[in-house]
């Protein structure tokens, strides 16, 4: 409650502040660009609990202080980092062999070897290590060093996207090995092989990175990169306006105010989707006719324009429409008339209050969203209003995950997720029938044998064409029998000072870590 009122007051104060500044002074901090071109300060909303890769920090790659065996380029293609090349895959997709880069040193001068790789993976997989993402390495049976420069992973089953998992940062055994992986000081004083070293971490205030002059990839031009931790959106916007920050992540309504003021706005496209789960355990949402009707009755364009202020895309499945994995022709047009026809034909007849009824079942179901998340709330309300127009009632309710989770088998939830690296990462946990109700996997209890088979084929085959065909099948099945109503893929907005030149962004996942945003490649900036 307090947070909400702070936010409200903040909006008011910022609005006042913005109008005052717009009329009064020019942007401060302009004159000293020569002095500060080698350093950058950005405002971020979330602070990591730990900087230890053993506990999950930087698991999706690009952690600045660390390197993985592989990393992503701007287009999210894999490229070698601590390995000299992409892995050799043998044994029908069950064995991955990496040749390691020679002469790489950790920032404390200690040489990096294959043992560090083995140590990192084995520690994460150790059941005593509290790493909540360890399930992502489920496929690993063993990891083994062959000499100093070769690492061999053996998998339990053929797993095509495994190489994507090896962007995971490598921790030094000589430091992290002597400590408790869960609470040791390595989590706050990390040492890695990456382009930056941690200069200072003042928790709750800022995280300062300093260029690693001995970086194997060449010393970065930006010598000092500071991430100021500012949770409140309005305070972040205010400090960006005051010249204290060079860049920040902002919600659409606040980013709008920065147009043409010495700053550039970057909209990072993402795999971050908002979707409504339609659990099979509910007699209404489990009905295929209702699912199909809802799928074409929602006005996705109105959501993108109205809720996201244009910063996003219509979503028809977990794969965004502009991804190479998207199946052309599976877009669904907004067509409430056809939706009504589908329901009529299936025997859902309008009742006295306009809500349809079939065999005594009212076309009504609860729709939950996490309280406090404005974006999800707006999506849920828009969804309910669209559903109402075809005679289906979604009763929108807010709650914490603790309240929502036990209800997931029967109640609909406004969920979010998305991982761009490989279609398997999203779709397998989201749609696979035997993962229904397993933690937060398959929240809609989706059960479709054709999809299950396609998902298996997609993860096991190493052949891109076969994989594409498998995920095409999944997306076509989602048209025939949607277990979720996918609504939007949202863009993440960043405002950055002009003096750093033209920057780029990567396609971003659902949760944006420290290294997302235009500073994903700050080590390559050439201001």
């Amino acid at each position: 409650m307090r947070a909400r009122s702070i936010r409200g007051m903040g909006a008011l104060a910022t609005a006042t502040a913005l109008t005052a500044v717009a009329s009064a002074c020019s942007a401060p901090g302009e004159g000293d660009s020569a002095a500060t071109a080698t350093s950058a300060v950005v405002g971020i909303a979330y602070e990591p609990e730990t900087l230890s890769p053993l506990l999950g920090f930087g698991k999706d790659g690009n952690s600045k202080i660390f390197d993985g065996l592989l990393t992503h380029d701007a287009d999210l293609e894999l490229k070698p980092a601590l390995a000299v090349a992409l892995p050799k895959v043998t044994d029908g997709g069950r064995t991955y062999t990496y040749e390691l880069r020679r002469g790489v040193k950790f920032s404390d001068g200690h040489p990096f070897t294959a043992e560090d790789v083995v140590f990192t993976y084995e520690t994460i997989l150790d059941e005593k290590t509290n790493n909540a993402s360890k399930g992502e390495l489920d496929a690993v049976r063993s990891v083994e060093a062959k000499g100093d420069d070769t690492v061999v992973f053996r998998l339990k089953y053929p797993y095509a996207p495994f190489a994507e998992r090896t962007v995971l940062p490598i921790a030094p055994e000589h430091i992290a090995g002597g400590q408790d992986a869960n609470t040791g000081s390595f989590g706050t004083k990390p040492v890695g092989t990456g382009p930056y070293k941690l200069a200072q971490w003042s928790k709750g205030e800022q995280l300062v990175l300093e260029a690693n002059s001995g970086y194997w990839g060449g010393a970065p031009k930006i010598k000092r990169f500071t991430m100021a931790i500012i949770r409140d959106d309005d305070v972040r916007a205010t400090r960006l306006r005051s010249g204290d920050l060079d860049g920040a992540i902002l919600p659409p309504n606040l980013a709008k105010a920065f147009k043409g003021s010495g700053q550039k706005t970057y909209a990072a496209e993402s795999f971050d989707h908002r979707t409504v789960t339609l659990p099979t355990g509910n007699r209404v949402t489990g009905n295929t006719a209702v699912r199909r009707a809802l799928d074409i009755a929602v006005d996705r364009k109105a959501m993108v324009d109205g809720i996201l202020e244009g910063a996003g895309k219509k979503a028809y499945g977990p794969v965004p429409t502009d991804s190479e994995w998207f199946t052309e022709g599976t877009e669904r047009a907004y067509d409430p008339k056809k939706a009504r026809k589908i329901l009529d034909a299936a025997g859902w007849k309008p009742g006295k209050d306009g809500i349809r009824v079939k065999d005594g079942v009212r076309a009504s179901f609860p729709l939950w969203y996490v309280s406090g998340d404005k974006l999800r709330q707006d999506h849920a309300l828009a969804y309910a209003s669209d559903a109402k127009k075809i005679g289906v009632e979604a009763k929108v309710q807010a709650g914490t995950w603790e309240v929502i989770e036990p209800r997931m088998p029967k109640d609909a939830v406004l969920a979010g997720g998305g991982s761009p690296a490989d279609p398997d990462f999203d779709q397998y946990p989201l749609l696979r029938s035997d993962l229904a109700g397993d933690g937060f996997n398959n929240m809609g209890w989706y059960d479709n044998a054709t999809v299950d088979r396609a998902l298996e084929a997609g993860r096991e085959s190493g052949d891109p064409a076969e994989r594409k065909a498998a995920y095409d099948t999944v997306q076509r099945e989602l048209v025939k029998n949607p277990g979720y109503t996918f609504l939007t893929h949202i863009d993440h907005l960043y405002v950055v000072d002009d003096r750093f030149g033209e920057l780029s962004t990567q396609v971003e996942p659902h949760d944006h870590g420290l290294a997302a945003g235009p500073w994903w490649n700050v080590e390559d900036w050439r201001p």
């Binding site: 230890s52 005051s242 914490t400 309240v403």
Partner: protein, 321 residues
């Protein structure tokens, strides 16, 4: 004096025991799940097996009383346990942060007491005069203003509009060395806001206390003896008028702590407040319990201090009462 302090210290032991147990009980009864909180977003895609493993590792499946007793036994031996929310030993969390919170709170408190005393005396000198009316209305206005709102207001005015002072943080953003000068500059706004939020209480108490004292016989006697107004005001009236303020000092400590919590958030001040919020919502028992003990001790010490000062200021009260 030593006896009073000793008795209070003995009394503090059961109080701390009860308070920590209360914290554990309330946290256990809350709908928050420590495992979910620990896993964060990763928990949304974690399998049940991973979550169960975490639950066992974190000891979250043990009964309330066991958890409390284990914590207490370890704490008595000096081991405060590990914070699950921040992934480091509780002692480290507190060690890193508590100094900055104490600096902020102590500065604000000092300013509030001194400025409050000054304004209160000024106001009490001529009740109903323009100074009195101005000071009193200011006090009532400030009393109604929430600290975070004041915070945003001063950021807007001093950091944004006038560009005089930094808008947040402990040092200049991007600087890694903590220098006295920088901290002092960054301390001004948050300490001022926190002081302003405490100010009205002191102003109004001093105004009332001194105002009443000015009507009392000793003061009238002093005036009749022809002593200077200054001596009367400071030597006689202020001394007896300050007594209620001393009690107030003890009772303001909890308010100071909650006020600091909001101020630290607005100014990205790296104190203990953010950790407190995190500990509470993440059901981080060891951290929460340690912070509660700290806060309880602060309140108990505040009260003890008030009583001791009371005894010093007015020998009639004594230390045994």
């Amino acid at each position: 004096m030593a006896r009073l302090a000793g008795r209070r210290a003995l009394f503090a032991v059961p109080v701390l025991g009860i308070v920590t147990f209360g914290v554990f009980a309330i946290a256990a009864a809350s709908p928050f799940d420590p495992v979910k909180a620990y896993a964060g977003t990763a928990g949304l895609s974690a399998s049940q097996e991973t979550l169960d493993q975490l639950r066992a590792n974190l000891g979250a499946d043990e009964p309330l009383v066991t958890r409390w007793w284990n914590w207490l036994a370890a704490a008595v031996r000096g081991d405060l346990g590990d914070s699950s929310a921040l992934r480091q030993p509780v002692a480290d969390v507190i060690g890193e942060r508590v100094g900055w919170s104490v600096l902020l709170a102590a500065t604000a408190f000092l300013v509030a007491v001194l400025l409050g005393g000054l304004l209160g005396v000024l106001a009490a000198r001529r009740p109903g005069g323009w100074t009195d009316r101005a000071v009193s209305s200011l006090a009532y206005t400030l009393e109604a203003a929430p600290p975070f709102w004041l915070g945003l207001l001063v950021i807007w005015l001093f950091a944004l509009k006038l560009g005089l002072l930094p808008a947040g943080g402990l040092t200049d953003t991007g600087s890694t060395v903590v220098t006295v000068g920088q901290v002092a500059r960054h301390l001004v706004l948050p300490a001022a806001v926190l002081a302003l939020s405490q100010l009205p209480w002191f102003v109004l108490y001093v105004r009332q206390g001194v105002g009443d004292a000015l009507q009392e016989d000793p003061v009238r006697g002093a005036r009749a003896r022809g002593l200077a107004e200054r001596t009367v005001l400071l030597g006689h009236a202020l001394r007896s008028g300050m007594l209620p303020v001393l009690t107030l000092i003890g009772s303001r400590v909890p308010e100071l702590i909650t006020g600091a919590l909001l101020v630290e958030t607005v100014f990205s001040w790296p104190g203990i407040a953010a950790a407190t919020v995190e500990a509470a919502t993440a059901v981080d028992f060891p951290l929460l319990a340690a912070l509660t003990v700290l806060a309880t001790i602060a309140v108990l010490v505040g009260n003890l201090l008030a009583d001791l000062l009371y005894g010093l200021a007015d020998p009639r009260v004594g230390f045994d009462g």
